[in-house]
Amino acid sequence: MKPAPFDYVRPRTLDEAVQALAGRPEAKVLAGGQSLVPLLSMRLAAPSLLVDINALPDLDHVRVDETGVRIGALARHARVLADPEVRRVQPLVSLALANVAHPTIRNRGTTVGSLVHADAAAEMPMVLRLLEGSVDVAGPSGRRTIEAADLYVGPLESSLHHDEIAVEAFFPTLPARTGVAFEEISRRHGDYAMCGVAALVTLDGGGAVSRVRAGYLSASDVPAVVDLTEPLAGGITPASLEQAAAVALTQLDPETDIHATAAYRAHLVEVLTARVVTAAYQNASEHTHQSTQE
């Protein structure tokens, strides 16, 4: 298990990095390497050139303002997770990150790397989609912003061009009167989950449900988000939750693998939808309650 040979550059500017990529269609970006290096070692990938972006300046940032959280391409999962401001402004990012791999992997792996790696079993791509965030990328023709809805095009496939580098991800803050929750079920602690669900529940001024959306991981071949407002608009009840899960399942496509059958995954979608939506609803109610008190 040793990588095949490749050329290697460690550019000091973003332009250099983009140019290096542009010149070599077989080139790949190396960020934290926590997904890429195993693929290289197993020779499942054999790029001719690695562009190591770890020496690029100004990408190692986590910036938080009231609009949301901006995470630079070199910010490691651990750093983002530890940031109290992130937790305050967009708690779902922190909730989900705590479930990404093990601390040691989080010390090196980057959140942006995870986003563009586009694994449907990974937490952060789903969260980005659910929160309707975006990724800024730099390419030979300058920078552009890719909305989360346009980022995931297939299994392990993002809409980045091969010569583009993701420089920053944006996770918008929660809308007013909105609660979040996240839960996943994995075989072992720290493993990719068999199924995971995140939910956003927004209440109207009167405390009634006005919008519900849920994100699903490992339940289809791309990170999936389902709008559950309709079944739940009348209130969160066991019956409406069951209905919501049924709606979700019409838009998901859980598959059988060695760890779980499709039926079991579908069942987890039901169980977790109920749990997570309920928790997000409670979370929203608390917020609403608090803000009315303030």
Partner: protein
């Protein structure tokens, strides 16, 4: 008096090295070595049409590339199949692979070509360039396919049956027919594997100056590898030294030998005149090292109203993989050790050992016992359920009683000897485990939990383990003139703390400070006669041999000292390395001096040795070395018991099963364990902890997921789910029982494998208890439990 070391929780001497990062594992030795890599079959079953290595030959940094065709010209025996290590009369269709595949491959991972290059990276580049053409053949995967025998693994093995073996004590069929109650059960255990954290590895250097081969290998038997290498490479045994350095775990897989690389690496080293090394990577370990466990059982049992066994008839099918290098050891153990602590009434067992196009099967910690234990304990639980009795009552009535020891089962064990239990106290053990786990209070707990909407279950399982199988082990002790005690025993160490436990034995028997004792294991230069580390035999076999050798050393020391001190041997003792008149400290001479005196010298090399030169010692009228004596303060002895000694234990577990997600959580795990006298309780408990964790893995997480084509779909640590700390019980309650073995001088029994044996049985029982429907196959995942719920509530 020196404090007694036997039974003390002595901190391990090996740890200082390990925690500093100064351990020496195979991949750490011979830093100048070239590196080998092996091309492995991507197909489970295929004929090899051609192999083209031309593209490799001109690669920079590549030193050799071999296929089957190249081997015989280098060493004729290399053209023959690998040895069948443990033949058996019923193994009528034993087959072994070639070091490099000849014409046909029978599992994904089988070695086809061998490359030696400057480093492993280049060696793998070379593998990528070898072109093999295959004619694909249909693969036989899983026991069902092997039994159906619509396709054959080996053309000349009808029915895929390598062996069919049968044993009986009494007429089980008649006893069952006459019994008031009968049940039949179908049970299954899936494949798993040892999965030591260090894979296999071998390094070799041909010493041209001395004409010797030096081989380091991560093995459980140095002497076995040595004999095999000498035979296959056509070398005199005396020219081959095998050294087992630190080994990063074995658990059975490293007892099989010689692995292809254990022959190819030394062959290359000799030919190239360079050190050569092979370090197996994790993917290779999954697809080319051995697995175990896969068996299907059909049980017929007859019993009376109280649940007493009257007749037991077990028919089972054992998946031995593509070849049978290790013979029938695993299924023979299953067929005999299945009986556990119980009297089966009349017993009949028959098994088929079946070929499949998968990795070979050789012992994994427990070696066939976890399956046997699972089958017997599931049967006990089924009887209890049928009669509506407490599960411990049914067990209790079937237990062999202490006054029935030694207990003869009337069967033949894995070593060809009678299956006779030497000692044990199973009723006391049952009482203890019930107390430890809180068996009698469980219904209250269940009700409390149920009130909270939580579902819990309790299960228990018992086992008996034949440990310390023969034929023998030996020990050689030398007391140096410095007083330091050097001990060599031939079996190997892979984490059991032998350097500590064996030194404890020597310190006690020889009367020397523990710190002065140094143990060497697995080095054929120091102890060429040995068997190996398996079957929980190291403490019993080498421990006993070391004890005996220490005794001899002591006798000799006393003889020599008696003469020097002009005292009677009877009046002397050795305390803290000093031979003295009993009870008179200060009167004696150190063992170092005794060592000097033991070896009459012509030449003095230091002050102390002057005392041993010819004008200083001995009666000039007698020969300097007396008749019957040898120079040197040494002792050597061997221990060869008539048969195995039987350790035993019971585990109980309380689990919670999530009513919604079917996740399984361990709430309590309890162990009662009897391995006779404990040399070092700390080490024994460590062995139990590790065994329990592997038991948890085997019951709830680990399986080998082959697809129909024979591709192993989870050949990585990402998908083969060994427990992390988060998956094992947060505490393991342990209680010991010490029923000494009458078979060896220290009264000890083996402890290495026990912890893993009852895992699947106990978990199955607990999950069944929680869920209310039978659990007949292990391991079990939440997804499977969910499916079972659906099936039973449908």
């Amino acid at each position: 008096m020196t404090t007694r070391m036997m039974g003390a929780k002595v901190a391990r001497v090996e740890d200082d090295r390990f925690v500093r990062g100064h351990g020496r594992y195979v991949d750490d030795v011979a830093p100048d070595a070239l590196h080998a890599a092996v091309l492995r079959s991507p197909h489970a079953h295929a004929r090899i049409r051609s192999i083209d290595v031309d593209a490799v030959l001109d690669l920079d940094g590549v030193h050799a590339v071999w296929t089957y065709e190249d081997l015989a010209p280098l060493a004729p025996a290399m053209g023959e199949p690998l040895p069948l290590l443990i033949p058996h009369p019923t193994l009528t269709h034993g087959r072994t692979q070639y070091a490099l595949a000849k014409d046909e491959v029978n599992y994904v991972g089988e070695a086809i070509a061998f490359v030696v290059a400057d480093d492993r990276y280049l060696a793998e580049d070379a593998l990528d360039r070898i072109v093999v053409e295959y004619d694909l053949l249909p693969a036989v995967v899983g026991i069902d396919a092997a039994r159906a025998a619509e396709r054959l693994v080996h053309e000349d093995v009808p029915g895929n049956v390598a062996a069919r073996m049968e044993q009986a004590n009494g007429d089980a069929a008649a006893a069952i027919a006459a019994a008031p109650h009968t049940l039949s059960l179908d049970l299954e255990i899936e494949r798993s594997a040892c999965m030591p954290l260090e894979g296999r590895g071998v390094a070799a250097r041909w010493d041209t100056d001395n004409g010797r081969l030096q081989l380091w290998t991560s093995t459980q038997t140095s002497t076995g590898v040595r004999a095999a290498v000498a035979a296959k490479l056509g070398l005199d045994l005396m020219r081959v030294d095998v050294i087992t350095p630190d080994v990063g775990g074995g658990f059975g897989v490293k007892i099989n030998h010689p692995w292809p690389e254990e022959l190819l690496v030394p062959l290359a080293a000799r030919l190239l005149g360079r050190a050569v090394k092979f370090t197996e990577d994790r993917r290779e370990h999954f697809i080319s090292s051995a697995h175990e466990r896969g068996q299907q059982h059909h049980v017929e049992v007859g019993f009376d109203d109280e649940g007493r066994l009257l007749g037991l008839d077990v028919r089972f099918w054992h998946d031995n993989g593509a070849y049978t290098p290790y013979g029938l050891i695993v299924p023979i153990i299953t067929s005999t050790q299945l009986l556990g602590p119980y009297k089966p009434g009349a017993y009949h067992v028959q098994f088929d050992s079946l070929y499949t196009n998968t990795v070979i099967v050789t012992p994994y910690r427990g070696a066939g016992r976890p399956q046997g234990c699972f089958v017997m304990e599931r049967t006990m639980d089924a009887i209890a359920a049928y009669l509506g009795k407490d599960r411990t009552e049914v067990r209790s009535i079937n237990l062999i009683q202490p006054d029935e020891m030694p207990y003869e089962h009337g069967l033949t064990f894995q070593d060809g000897r009678e299956l006779t239990y030497d000692s044990g106290d199973f009723p006391t053990m049952l009482t203890k485990i019930k107390e430890l786990v809180g068996w009698d209070e469980f219904e209250t707990f269940r009700a409390e939990m149920a009130a909270q909407g939580r579902r819990v279950g309790i299960g228990l399982a018992a086992y008996v383990e034949g440990t310390g199988v023969g034929p023998y082990e030996g020990a050689h002790i030398t007391v140096e003139t410095s007083g330091k005690v050097k001990v060599a025993t031939g079996l190997t160490t892979q984490g059991q703390g032998h350097q500590t436990a064996f030194a404890q034995i020597v310190a006690d028997e020889l009367g020397v400070p523990f710190e002065d004792v140094e143990i060497t294991t697995g080095d054929t230069r120091r102890m060429p006669y040995a068997v190996g580390t398996f079957a929980s035999r190291a403490a019993v076999m080498s421990g006993s041999a070391i004890h005996l050798a220490a005794k001899k050393t002591k006798e000799k020391a006393l003889r020599i000292a008696a003469e020097a001190l002009e005292a009677d041997v009877e009046d002397l003792e050795i305390v803290d390395g000093v031979v003295q008149v009993k009870g008179s400290p200060g009167s004696g001479i150190g063992l170092g001096t005794v060592a000097v005196l033991s070896n009459p010298l012509r030449y003095a090399f230091d002050e102390a040795s002057k005392a041993a030169t010819q004008f200083n010692v001995g009666d000039p009228t007698k020969p300097p070395v007396a008749a019957g004596e040898e120079p040197g303060l040494e002792g050597k002895d061997f221990y060869s018991p008539p048969r195995s000694t039987f350790a035993s234990g019971m585990h109980a577990v309380i689990v919670e099963t999530d009513p919604l997600t079917a996740e399984i959580t361990i709430l309590k795990y309890a162990v009662v364990h009897d391995c006779g006298h404990l040399i070092n309780p700390m080490i024994v408990e460590g062995q139990i902890h590790g065994g329990v964790a592997q038991g948890v893995g085997g019951a709830l997480y680990e399986r080998m997921a082959y697809d129909e084509a024979g591709q192993l779909q989870n050949a990585s640590f990402m998908d083969f789910l060994m427990p992390y700390v988060t998956e094992v019980p947060t505490s393991i309650d342990i209680d010991h029982l010490e029923t000494p073995s009458p078979l060896n001088p220290l009264g000890i029994k083996g402890a290495g494998e026990a912890g893993v044996i009852p895992g699947s049985a106990a978990f199955a029982a607990a999950i069944e208890d929680a869920e209310g429907f039978p659990i007949t196959a292990m391991p079990i995942s939440p997804s499977q439990l969910f499916d079972l719920r659906a099936a039973h509530h449908a």
